[in-house]
Amino acid sequence: MIVTFLNVVIAGLLLGGIYALIAVGLSLQYGVARVFNISHGEFIMLGAFATWMLYTMAGINPLISLVISGPFIFLIGFFLHKTLFRSLLNASPSMNIFESKSMLATFGLLFIIQNIAILIWGADFKGYSYLNVGVNFGGAVFAANRLVTLVYAVIIGTAFYLFLAFTRMGKAIRAAAQDPKTAGLMGVNINQVLALCFGFGAIMAGFAGALLSMCYPIQTTMGLEYTVIAIIVVTLGGMGSIVGSFIGGFILGIIGSIVTTIEPSLYLVVFYFIFSLMLLVRPKGILGK
């Protein structure tokens, strides 16, 4: 009984860590840059494939290749905002119109990135084995790579939280999230901050993808599935809140793990049900303002 309980909770936490990391990026992009990024999952996919390529072709340790692939994905996000979303922002008469336009543009990005990836890597499952050894937790056994994943997710999330809370740039980002106009008047280079945020969102997705590739088989069409999970987590935790993303991620992870032990085919139904219920009862999420 206790072993099952441990099994379920730890599996939930492991899953939740990844969910949280995926969601942090989306939450940041929407919370600050006001772009509801449907192509978020594609950046996860890019991160996963970059890690897979570096590992299988150059033999680079996945935990180190984060440092190589991360900046690239950051730059993609950064320049996407500098070009595409900036011109949309300038052309939109109101924030609401910008939000819907930019969301639709990210639909386009989804199809562009995904299909370029399919043309390059094909549509088959890819995978590699890394740190695939069992670790015993009082009777419950877990693969080491999943534990590493959880630790990394928590470290990255905490580091990012501290960055936002204490650095000058972090303050600028938070100011821009609260009120872009006033922040601009106070000397924050708002365009730069928004582009940086979009880049940070992308790099979070890239990290999550790299970690995912260690534990699960990857595929060029995997993006949308993770985007959907990120959307559910963000809705649960509250848009624009990092702590909320982690709370939402862990809640969803544990619920997913419980439902999977009882009835595996039902977990997506439960996710969507929670999601719909949350939107109806409290659309701003647990920690949303």
Binding site: N96, S100, M103, F111, L119, V269
Partner: protein, 317 residues
């Protein structure tokens, strides 16, 4: 000739052209059976989905990603009751089922605005799809089901009929006070409410009417596929396509979405079997470019060019 008679004369001419076009389309199976009928059926399918989407989402700016849900409900209605009941009734029931679903969903969710509404409607598609999948595996013990087969000429004529009804409904809504109410909601919902528009009622009713046509189209198209499962019926792709086609064609005029979806379906027919990735890539690129550079879509662009052209003509004389 005063302006009023000129206008009626213009209307008569447009009406006559439309009537001739309709007769040509309706008699197509007689003189050009086969592939062109099948192609036109799929074009009509996307046209119906897109125009119904535009009826509600065009003026209000609410981005609904629920078309796949309503379309899928129609498909399932056809699959479940299709063999027992005459076909016209099946189509009607498919439409009504979607209508009722939209009423329920609309009444629940139209308080949500902006991206929350979009995200919820998308979640709805996935919820129904997954729940249906679960139900089929655990209760009926099968995955998917067969639909009765109907010859493609009949499918085509039904789609054409739905299309004509839809265009009539769309025109009536656009010219009625409901059309104006929808536009005022899109511009400033609070202000619309204060001027006496029953915002919730208007939104829910129009949302449900648009769902009716999607459902009806679904119950006809189901017979073309002969086999369906939740993954086919509730494919989120049917939610994305209408949005894209409407943006590409332009939502200012009713024929904008018609042209947009016709062009895309034509493109799809040729590219998707051989170069599926390329098709989707082009699709994405056109979407981004349209959002960036064609705020009023293809039709808006043509109108702008036409205006510039005719103005120049006037300046010279």
């Amino acid at each position: 000739m005063d302006i009023a008679t000129l206008k009626t004369k213009q209307n008569l001419i447009t009406g006559a052209i439309l009537l001739i076009l309709l007769i040509l389309l309706a008699t197509l199976p007689l003189y050009k059976p086969g592939y062109s009928v099948i192609l036109l059926s799929s074009i009509l399918m996307y046209v119906i989905l897109t125009v119904s989407w535009v009826i509600f989402s065009g003026p209000t700016g609410y981005i609904s990603l629920a078309p796949a849900a309503f379309f899928g409900v129609g498909i399932y209605a056809s699959a479940i009751i299709g063999k027992a009941i005459p076909f016209p009734v099946v189509v009607l029931i498919g439409g009504v089922a979607s209508f009722v679903l939209a009423l329920l969903v609309g009444a629940l969710t139209l308080r949500l605005r902006g991206i929350y509404f979009a995200v919820f409607t998308f979640g709805l598609v996935m919820l129904i799809s997954n729940a249906m999948n679960y139900y089929e595996i655990h209760f009926t013990g099968t995955r998917g089901r067969f639909v009765m087969v109907i010859d493609y000429n009949t499918i085509y004529l039904y789609m054409l009929g739905i299309f004509v009804l839809l265009m009539i409904a769309a025109t009536i809504i656009k010219r009625s006070k409901y059309g104006l109410a929808l536009m005022s909601i899109g511009q400033e919902e609070e202000a619309a409410e204060h001027t006496g528009v029953n915002v919730v009622m208007v939104k829910v009713i129009i949302f449900a009417i648009s769902a009716f046509f999607m459902g009806a189209a679904g119950s006809v198209m189901a017979t073309k596929w002969t086999y369906i499962d939740p993954g086919i019926a509730f494919n989120p792709f049917y939610s994305f396509m209408p949005v894209l086609m409407a943006i590409f064609g332009g939502m200012g005029q009713l024929f904008g979405p018609v042209i947009g979806s016709a062009i895309f379906t034509y493109l799809e027919e040729f590219l998707i079997t051989k170069f599926a990735e390329l098709y989707m890539l082009i699709f994405g690129a056109i979407l981004v470019v349209s959002i960036l550079y064609l705020p009023d879509g293809l039709v808006g662009l043509i109108q702008k060019l036409w205006k510039r052209f005719s103005e120049r003509k006037h300046a010279n004389t």
